[in-house]
């Protein structure tokens, strides 16, 4: 086996010792990784929305055994296996999990790379010189497999591994070596190990594989039988290159994963700390560092993550969302201080904190502070967005995200549903466009004070839909001198139809309401309604007081 020419592989260290590559392939990664461990034996498929409906993106081992395969429509899959479990494919989450898996493998080798030819479900590791740490290659693979199976995400996940002197051979054997056992190719035997594999093990493109199939070239050996120029004339250069790479006649590099977050500050402690005050001081310092990084890049953090690693390797994580992108160290520090204040009782430093990492995984351009435009004479002050956001952040830090709410108007004709309280962290809904809001009520027709719940009243009124003459509310009789209405508001029938339990059909969504604006003899103005249309819905409509005009 000849050494690769140096100019082709500038980033490879000089071949002073044998390079060894380990290819990992998880045949059912998408499905396995997104299932609970104990359900991995059930048929399960992931689905994507494609043109012309939903199609399977991935199927686990059980589903494939039942005849399902990626690319089928969901309807077909259901026809074949009615009991199949489904979920939407979340490719990003799947990739995240693979990255996490890669990170955990770094305890075996620092050189964990993505697999360019199977980026979604494969990994490529350079394990040169690592095996002796684990007592040899076979033991290293066994240890790897055992640790993986023990881990939460690894139990029951299919895994195929192959170790060889070239990435090409390792890849081919992991994917086409047959079975899920560990394959180890002794140094220098790559060529003979891969010759009998199908041509697809060469990592060729689909068009070339198709041509191979149609020419009847099944195994790599079939391809190797021809003079190289005949192959290149018909296939292009790639098959020969890949063959040489697999055999170790041409070089190839593997790319390690890039370091993750762009903005992070790390502090490793020589001596672990247990006092929360000490931690807090360290966090303050980290905030200053991180803020400086962010400021320099013109970015503001949208969320902060603080990772504390204890000496027993346990990790604590604090997540702090920010209402507005910020690169203000003091603000960040204060937020953490408030979080720590809330934590006090629940903080368990164990035998001490060893490492602190503060990172900003979500960040956005830092908006330059916007000064109020000098509006001649109109002197309306612009809302101090940043200050408000800082205030909101502090409230959330201190009280918790669910405790801080704001009223949001909601497009509903039913008055008590027309507003709701929402957590600050949820963005307010966009205003519906003008045309859509065509049927929205004018605000002048609504009372400022709405009762928490409509109160039943006794009313004398004309049927079918006349205004009240007089009514009794909270034991006081009111004589009506003026009335405007009826304003008719129908029930939200779909809520009625879709509320499963009959209890839910409380009076507030039962019938059509006729609202009247009423003025009594004392000049008090009320908003009351009749529930149920006379004749069409009921023969004895009930009346309710719903609000008071000031």
């Amino acid at each position: 086996m000849s050494a690769p020419p140096a100019h082709l592989t500038p980033d490879l260290p000089p071949p002073s010792f044998e390079r060894r590559y380990l290819a990992l392939w998880f045949p059912y990664w998408h499905t396995d990784a997104s299932m609970v461990a104990h359900e991995r034996a059930q048929p399960f498929v992931l689905v994507t929305q494609q043109q012309g409906g939903q199609r399977l993106a991935a199927a686990n081992a059980a589903a494939q055994a039942a005849g399902l395969a990626a690319g089928m429509t969901l309807a077909d899959a259901r026809a074949l296996v009615p009991c199949v479990q489904t979920a939407m494919l979340d490719a990003a989450a799947s990739a995240r999990r693979l990255r996490r898996c890669a990170a955990s493998l770094q305890s075996f080798t620092p050189w964990v790379g993505e697999d360019r030819f199977a980026p979604q479900d494969g990994l490529m590791l350079d394990v040169s010189g690592c095996a002796h740490l684990f007592g040899g290659e076979r033991k290293m693979l066994a240890e790897m497999r055992a640790r993986f199976a023990r881990s939460n995400q690894g139990a029951g996940v299919g895994l195929s591994m192959a170790l060889a002197g070239t990435p090409g051979a390792a890849w081919g054997l992991a994917h086409y070596g047959g079975g899920q056992g560990d394959i180890i190719v002794p140094p220098g035997h790559e060529a003979e190990a891969v010759l009998e594999l199908p041509v697809a093990a060469l990592r060729l493109e689909a068009a070339q594989l198709d041509l191979c199939r149609r020419l009847g070239l099944v195994r790599i050996a079939d391809l190797a039988r021809f003079p190289r120029h005949e192959i290149t004339r018909r296939f292009g250069a790639l098959p020969i290159l890949r063959m040489e790479q697999a055999f170790g006649q041409a070089g190839e590099s593997v790319n390690p994963y890039l370091p993750p977050p762009r903005f992070q500050a790390i502090r490793n402690l020589a001596q672990s700390v247990t006092q929360i005050e000490a931690v807090q001081l360290l966090v303050d310092a980290l905030c200053t560092t991180l803020a400086a990084q962010l400021h320099e890049a013109g970015r503001g953090a949208q969320a902060l993550d603080l990772l504390l690693t204890r000496s027993d390797n346990a990790r604590l994580r604090l997540h702090v969302p920010l209402a507005h992108p910020s690169a203000d160290a003091a603000h960040m520090a204060r937020l953490f201080a408030e979080r720590f204040a809330r934590l006090q009782s629940g903080f368990d430093a164990g035998f001490g904190i060893e490492t602190l990492v503060l990172m900003a995984q979500r960040h956005a351009p830092l908006a330059p502070p916007q000064d109020a435009l000098a509006l001649q004479g109109r002197g309306r002050k612009s809302v101090p967005v940043a200050a408000l956001a800082r205030f909101a952040d502090r409230l959330v830090s201190r009280l918790g995200a669910r405790a801080v709410v704001r009223p949001v108007s909601w497009p509903s004709h039913i008055p008590e549903r027309a507003a709701s309280l929402q957590s600050l962290t949820i963005a307010p809904p966009d205003k519906q466009d003008e045309a859509a809001a065509n049927d929205s009520p004018a605000s002048a027709t609504r009372p400022l004070f709405l009762l928490c719940a409509p109160e039943p009243i006794e009313v004398i009124a004309e049927i079918p839909e006349g205004a009240p003459f007089r009514f009794r509310w909270r034991r006081v009789l009111h004589e009506v001198v003026a009335a405007q209405g009826p304003e008719r508001i129908g029930a939200e029938w779909w809520r009625q139809a879709m509320s499963a339990s009959p209890d839910d059909t409380a009076h507030n969504i039962a019938g059509t309401r006729d609202y009247f604006r009423i003025e009594d003899a004392n000049g008090h103005r009320f908003w009351l309604y009749r529930d149920g249309l006379y004749g069409r819905e009921t023969l004895s409509p009930r009346w309710f007081m719903h609000g008071v005009f000031p």
Binding site: Y176, P411, N438
Partner: protein, 1082 residues
């Protein structure tokens, strides 16, 4: 105010003048008929219906109003680009024409389905014509007060004949203020107010549907819709007393209704249809011309000796035509047909009038009236005043020429294509409503999965359970409820396949014309029922694949056998042809090649032309639903005495042994036996065909059955007759249609029997058409003894052709059989060969024909280089070796000198492993959709024998009740909606076909195999019914994996074009090449 307008309450009757129907797509929530019926039920004096920028719904409303005895005002709701909304009612015919032309202008400016109108269009229209305008004020009070509204309203008011401002109680918070505001504005502008409900639906129960449609329009769910939904359900038609109360403070608004009704006296009945006149001989009247042409035609048909009986019929028909002045219509059809003849385009007429003797003599049809027993005594009737109906089928590849001819001859302003109303069907309704309710995609897909085809019912409870869903879950129940309501609602208009309306005057004065999706195509807003209801004539210019195939057969026969044929000159009543049909050897024959027809042929045993007419008509939903098939067969086979329910019915049913089979017979029964007047019977038919949902059918049904029982018929017979009429409503076959089709059945069967090679080649070249793929057609030809030759680089033509061999004429497949090879490439190939002789190598072919790499690979794949001694792999090896420039375009210099650049393309190809016989067959299927080498199953015979699976031939000869195990390729899977979950499989092997029936319980048990398997082994019991044999499956076994054995290696490539599962499925498993995805032979 007339006395009649005073109702029992002592007040004026009310009339809604601002109603909308569901032809205002996704806005109106009631059918026009429902609006009319509700208005009539409430005792309205009149109803005005105006849909958004269209007149599409008014004819239905007009017809329903006539039925209900209600006065009807047709109008349109004109909505401009700037959002100004106004209803326009024409006062007279001219105003209607102007309105229609205005809408046409708006339509023609926009893309399909849209209408662009401006305020200028409205003022122009107002100046030009006497219309009553009803302005719909904006919804919000601020908008009413806004200057922009006044500025738009004032100029229109200045030039309008009559104009009103609509007052509508919306039951908003400030209705009273709104009314006052409008009244003030009205007084200020001098525009009176008018009372109306601006009704979107006929009854408040439709509010949920209207809300759901608003969601469909806004692409949101109900929960998200918010203020896009109306606050209440008040926009419906209300009782007149309610109207009086609501408008008590605005008596002027109520009084204005009278003025509108007095002004608008236009009715759609005034649209007097004018036949095109000028297109004929100016010297003669149309009648004289028609008579001249008819007699000339008759003499030509019968060589001068017109039989006396025919002469009588002709005289009778001509006098009837004269009486009803239909001569221009016949002349128009004749003109189109004559044009087709001049271009050698085969055509044939059908329809109620088509089988008249006049049409035969004019050459419109080729059904010799003397071959039928006085079929058409009632082809048009004076009493019914129903317009004659002639549909003309043309060769499907050349219909466009006819359409262009009609446009050329009459002009686009006088000829237009009718519309087809595309309605919500089961699937589309469920899909939209699932979105509106906000069902997850997953559940929606499951619901859709059980909505078969384009049914008119949402999935049933059982089907929902089958999908694994709970039909009582509130969201699912609501989805299904709303879906059921919207089914049958129009979604949009589309152009009819070929219904032409040709008028004498401008067409756009009758009906608005709009753009179609196809470039340079326009169509009118009315569909064929609307045209029917107004008595407007249309000619259906339809496309029929079989005519193309027959034309090609005639051409091939003329070229290779020297015999010139045409439809009318094919020898009649050839008993050998009937023998073949009785044996159900009907693959490729028009109409009778379906599985149901093939099952019927041996039972019916057609022996003459009229038997074929019955054969065509009997396997239709009408007779099947009416349970008329078995009684007919029993009587025909002499197992049951031919008896007539009464003397009067003997005249009607004599020809069909006392069993009604044709549409006319059912109608005649209504007249003769149930006492319907002819026009009532006709309305019954119409009610069946079009206004199916409106409940009048049930009424008719009661009347028919009671009428018949009252006249002494058995209730059972009466009910069956009604069921059959119901079935006809959907897919009826009148006798005349059946007769025209029967002729094509006879001609195609005759061709198949006498010239199987030519017929098969013609069918292959006319694909796609018919039930069978080329593989089955070729197999059938081979069974008939035709030798079929493969596609060959030096022998094939572009299309399948005939080739003289030593002893016989063989069928040579053409380059068009190669999947993916373009016609241009095939033409280049043939041209290069004609110029420079046969090709001697792959590179020779590449150079001289100048084919691209992809085309050459397709040729190699199709094994066309075999005569050069190259296998398909060797040919591919050589093709791949060609330098890119050599493939892309020929090097003219080398070609001129006969020099080959490069060379040695075939070198090394001997190293390639040969294809296994199985792979050869599979590759044949992939490249050519058929294989001449062998049948895949034949290669698996040893494995089949090991599995004790018998060839399918055994099934044909097995006695009833025998337990049998067979295996074969699945050629076709059917799960007809009407068959209650029964699945039908058709298997194929080298010995023939076999029909399998799978009952639902077996299907559930072997679901995966029944749906997914390509090669299946079935164990079951033989069921024999006459010559029809089924295997009733008890056990199914998937043998698809055996097909993998056929291949020398596991290949995960796509081998297309073998049977497909119930729904197409694509498999791209990278490392699990489970099965090849085979696409079906339908």
């Amino acid at each position: 105010m007339s006395a009649a307008a005073i109702n029992e309450h002592g007040d004026n009757g009310f009339a809604e003048l601002a109603a909308m129907s569901n032809f205002s797509f996704l806005q109106g929530a009631s059918h026009p008929q429902e609006m009319v019926q509700q208005a009539a039920a409430l005792g309205y004096r009149a109803l005005g219906l105006a849909d958004r920028n269209t007149l599409a719904g008014v004819v239905r409303a007009h017809a329903a109003a006539k039925e209900a005895g209600l006065r009807f005002l047709p109008g349109a709701r004109l909505v401009t680009q700037c959002g100004f909304e106004v209803i326009a009612y024409p006062c007279d015919r001219d105003a209607y024409a102007a309105l229609s032309q205005c809408l046409t202008r708006g339509n023609r400016r926009a893309t399909k389905g849209d209408c662009l109108l401006t305020m200028t269009d409205l003022t122009e229209l107002a100046k030009q014509a006497a219309l009553v305008w009803i302005v719909i004020p904006p919804r919000r009070n601020e908008a009413i007060e806004a200057a922009s509204f006044r500025d738009r309203l004032a100029p229109l008011a200045a030039c309008a004949h009559q104009i009103y401002l609509l007052l509508t109680p919306f039951y908003g918070a400030d209705d009273a203020a709104r009314f006052n505001l409008l009244q003030t504005l009205a007084d200020w502008l001098g525009v009176p107010v008018l009372a109306g409900f601006d009704a979107l639906y006929h009854a408040p129960e439709r509010r949920p549907l209207q809300d759901a449609m608003a969601c469909i329009r806004a692409h949101c769910t109900l929960a998200e819709a918010g203020f896009r939904l109306a606050a209440n359900a008040e926009r419906h038609l209300k009782p007149p007393a309610e109207a009086q109360r609501l408008f008590a403070d605005h008596p002027d608004a109520l009084a204005a209704i009278d003025r509108v009704l007095a002004a608008c006296n236009f009715s759609l009945d005034e649209l007097a249809y004018q036949y095109p006149k000028d297109a004929f001989d100016p010297e003669l009247t149309p009648q004289a011309l028609l008579e001249k042409l008819t007699w000339a035609g008759a003499r030509a048909r019968f060589d001068g000796a017109v039989p006396a009986r025919l002469r009588d019929i002709l005289r009778h028909e001509l006098s009837l035509i004269e009486q009803l002045s239909y001569a221009p219509y016949f002349l128009t059809v004749h003109d189109v047909v004559r044009f087709a003849r001049s271009r050698q385009i085969l055509c044939q007429g059908r329809g109620s009038a088509a089988n008249s003797a006049v049409c035969y003599c004019l050459g419109i049809t080729a059904v010799d009236p003397s071959r039928l027993d006085l079929l058409f005594e009632r082809f048009i009737s004076a009493e019914r005043n129903e317009p004659p109906d002639i549909d003309v089928d043309f060769e499907h590849e050349r219909r466009e020429e006819i359409i262009q001819y009609i446009y050329r001859k009459y002009g686009r302003h006088r000829a237009g294509i009718a519309a087809t109303v595309i309605t919500y069907r089961s699937r589309s309704a469920v899909r939209e409503m699932a979105k509106v309710i906000g069902l997850s995609d997953d559940i929606a897909a499951a619901l859709l999965g059980v909505s078969w085809g384009s049914g008119s019912h949402p999935p049933s409870r059982a089907q929902v359970v089958e999908a694994g869903l709970d039909p009582d879950a509130p969201d699912i129940a609501l989805t299904l409820h709303l879906a059921a309501q919207i089914i049958g609602f129009p979604r949009h208009l589309s152009q009819h396949v070929g219904g032409f309306v040709i008028t004498n005057d401008r067409l756009d004065t009758l009906v608005p014309i709009g753009n179609a999706a196809m470039a340079d195509r326009t169509f009118i807003e009315w569909d064929k029922d609307d045209l029917d209801a107004l008595g407007m004539l249309k000619i259906d210019v339809l496309a029929l694949g079989m005519l193309t195939a027959i034309r090609r057969s005639f051409d091939l026969i003329a070229a290779h056998y020297g015999r010139v044929l045409e439809l009318a000159s094919v020898p009649a009543e050839d008993s050998a042809v009937y023998d073949m049909l009785c044996r159900a050897e009907s693959i490729g024959v028009f109409q009778v090649e379906s599985r149901a027809q093939m099952a019927m042929l041996p039972r019916l045993k057609p022996r003459d032309f009229y038997d074929l007419v019955i054969e065509v008509a009997i396997v239709r939903p009408g007779p099947i639903q009416g349970d008329m098939v078995h009684p007919y067969l029993r009587r025909r086979n002499g197992e049951e005495a031919v008896a007539f329910p009464s003397q009067e019915l003997e005249n009607v049913l004599g020809k069909t042994l006392g069993v009604p089979l044709f549409q006319e017979q059912a109608m005649r029964i209504a007249v003769v036996a149930a006492g319907f007047t002819p026009s009532e019977a006709d309305r019954l038919r119409r009610a069946m065909a079009t206004f199916r949902k409106t409940g009048i059918i049930h009424e008719f049904g009661l009347r028919l059955v009671d009428g018949m029982v009252g006249r002494g018929y058995e209730r059972d017979f009466a009910e069956r007759c009604f069921k059959q009429i119901e079935g006809f409503g959907e897919y009826g076959f009148p006798e005349s249609h059946a007769a025209s089709f029967a002729l094509l059945v006879y001609v195609s069967a005759w061709l198949k029997h006498h010239y199987p090679a030519a017929f098969c080649a013609a069918l292959i070249n006319s694909q796609p058409m018919g039930f069978y793929a080329p593989a089955q057609l070729v197999a059938e030809a081979k069974r008939q003894g035709v030798s079929v030759l493969p596609v060959c680089i030096n022998a094939s033509d572009i299309e399948a052709d005939l080739e003289a061999q030593q002893d016989a004429i063989a069928l040579r497949l053409g380059f068009n059989q190669i999947a993916g090879l373009t016609r241009a490439d095939a033409e280049a190939l043939v041209a290069a060969r004609q110029q420079g002789g046969a090709f001697d190598s792959v590179s020779d072919c590449a150079l001289r024909a100048g084919l691209g790499a992809a085309a050459l690979e397709r040729l190699a794949r199709a094994d066309v280089f075999a005569m050069l001694g190259l296998s398909r792999r060797q040919a591919l090896w050589a093709v791949r070796a060609l330098a890119p420039e050599q493939k892309a375009d020929a090097l003219p210099l080398f070609v001129a000198q006969g020099v080959r650049p490069y060379g040695a393309e075939e070198a090394g190809s001997d190293n390639l492993p040969p294809l296994s016989p199985g792979m050869e067959v599979l590759e044949d299927y992939a490249a050519l959709r058929l294989s001449l080498k062998n049948h895949p199953v034949a290669l698996l015979r040893t494995q089949m024998a090991k599995a004790r699976a018998a060839p399918l031939k055994t099934l044909q000869d097995a006695p009833s009740g025998r337990q049998l195990r067979v295996a074969g390729l699945v050629v076709c899977r059917q799960r007809p909606g009407s068959a209650k979950g029964v699945v039908f499989l058709t298997l194929e092997d080298e010995t023939g076909n076999g029909n399998i029936v799978i009952w639902p319980d077996r299907f559930e048990r072997f679901r995966r195999v029944a749906i997914g398997a390509r090669l299946v082994q079935i164990e079951g019991r033989v069921q024999r019914n006459g010559a029809v044999v089924h295997l009733v499956a008890e056990r199914l076994h998937d043998m698809s994996d055996l097909l993998l054995d056929l291949m020398a290696q596991p290949a995960d490539g796509k081998l297309t074009d073998l049977p497909k599962p119930l729904r197409p499925k694509r498999q791209t498993g990278r490392r699990t090449p489970r099965e090849m995805a085979w696409r079906g032979v339908e």
